[in-house]
Amino acid sequence: MSGWHEIGSVAELEREGRVVARIGGRELGVVRDPRTGELHGLRNRCPHSGAPICFGSIVERAVGAPGRYATTGRRVLRCPWHGWEYDLETGRCVDDPRMRVAVYPVRVEAGRVFVEA
């Protein structure tokens, strides 16, 4: 059933870093970047092996040249199980673009969090 679905409260999202809810057989979630405060809606299922990906961490994508470590500021969602990293805008696995988690628009209204899915 497509449309806007309520997932949880802003208070819980700020406290836990994510909110999830089962909507029509799918588990949907919203994650909050603790550094930037940005919100991202996505399906709570890693396409690699089914992990609840909203319970992962939003981290900075590491880069470098051989023997040298650097940062880019690019934020990615790291799966809580095997550590695969996903682009927060497209949902694609950065290191295997064949893998993609569904992403959804997010809206906040009167202290409640909604995704359109």
């Binding site: 470098g64 023997g67 550590g83 696995c93 290191d95």
Partner: protein, 363 residues
């Protein structure tokens, strides 16, 4: 016909038994080497083949060893098989990098390279050489590479599977840099694991038997060097570098690459300079010799399918490993392969990876 060409990428020559070798050793060190006897102070194995390292049908040369003079090698390894080009690799002398003294090792390597050039490469146009280097002193090794690289008959730098640390370690960078700058392949040949200053083979301590070493020691070091070179980003530093891995087997390769790719997705923050899947880096930069091509108990088709997943046939080069007991006869070995693989494995892949130094132009 071009498709009938044959390049044997692993023909061993023995310095043992060659008294004239000492003439090539730096005079200041000659007496030390003479005093070490027939094996010139190379570290010895704690386990040995129960019968002989060598094919029993070969004729020893004057000094008592097979494959120790050019006439025997041409007669036994080149002419009967119609080999167009044979890449000559030292035998036990590859363990020079495991000698306790890097000064002795550097002197031995220099002498071996000059001896190989004069006594072998100069004697027949079908022969190509490997530059032996003392890996325990990478700066001396790099100097030796630059010295020998001027002779185009040397097609590669040769390192040994046994090592103090896997070869991606930055201490070894001067070797790979020198090879890349001079257009030489770096070959790593199994052997020497657990000898001299090398780490024990296999990761579980020293084995008891030769059969253990021959099963896991020789393949384990080769796999470890592959993983190390990729993880350290050696090919990102030197995009033109090509590595040939010799005599470590190939059936394990698909499994290791699947593991490495999977681990890379999960653990890449350790090696964030790896921007491509490790298996792609391997396909582009690393080649594998066929011998000893695993016997599969009737499952050859399964092996070919798995190797295709790892990049075969482009990643495979034919090697016989003459004069050893586990020699792969080219007609028999190539006949096992899928027919469409054979030209690539016989010579085309070797021509491509060794380039102008080998002197064959791929069709």
């Amino acid at each position: 016909m071009s498709t009938e060409r044959l390049v044997d990428c692993d023909v061993h020559v023995l310095v043992e038994g060659n008294e004239d070798f000492l003439d090539y050793v730096d005079p200041g060190q000659r007496e030390w080497f003479r005093g070490q006897g027939r094996t010139f102070g190379l570290p010895g194995y704690t386990w040995t083949h129960p019968a002989s390292w060598f094919r029993a049908d070969l004729e020893p040369a004057e000094g008592g060893y097979p494959a120790s003079c050019v006439e025997n090698v041409l007669r036994e390894a080149v002419e009967p098989t119609g080999t167009d080009l044979a890449v000559l690799n030292p035998d036990d002398a590859i363990t020079v990098s495991l000698m306790g003294s890097s000064y002795r090792a550097a002197a031995f390597a220099r002498a071996h390279n000059d001896w190989l050039r004069d006594q072998w490469l100069a004697r027949d146009p079908r022969l190509r050489g490997s530059i032996l280097v003392p890996a325990q002193d990478p700066l001396a090794a790099a100097e030796e590479i630059r010295r020998c690289a001027e002779d185009e008959r040397f097609v590669q730098v040769l390192m040994v599977g046994g090592s103090e640390r896997p070869y991606g370690d930055p201490r070894y960078l001067p070797i790979f840099e020198a090879a890349a700058k001079t257009g030489l392949v770096v070959a790593i040949h199994s052997g020497g694991e657990g000898l001299g200053i090398a780490a024990p083979p296999g990761g579980a301590g020293m084995p008891t038997f030769y059969i253990e070493w021959h099963t896991i020691g020789s393949s384990g070091s080769i796999a470890a060097h592959l993983v190390s070179l990729v993880c350290h980003g050696v090919f990102e530093r030197f995009p033109g570098l090509r590595v040939v891995l010799l005599e470590g087997g190939v059936a394990w390769l698909p499994g290791i690459l699947w593991r490495l790719d999977t681990n890379w997705r999960a653990l890449r923050t350790e090696v964030p300079w790896l921007e491509r899947r490790p298996s792609e880096v391997v396909r582009e930069h690393i080649r594998f010799t066929t011998q000893p091509l695993e016997h599969t108990d009737g499952n050859d088709e399964l092996l070919w399918r798995m190797l295709e997943a790892a990049g075969a046939p482009e990643i495979l080069l034919f090697a016989s490993d003459y004069p050893h007991w586990d020699f792969d006869e080219p007609g028999h070995t190539l006949g096992r392969l899928p027919a469409e693989w054979r030209p690539k494995v016989r010579w085309e892949n070797a021509a491509a990876v060794y380039g102008a130094r080998l002197g064959l132009v791929p069709a």
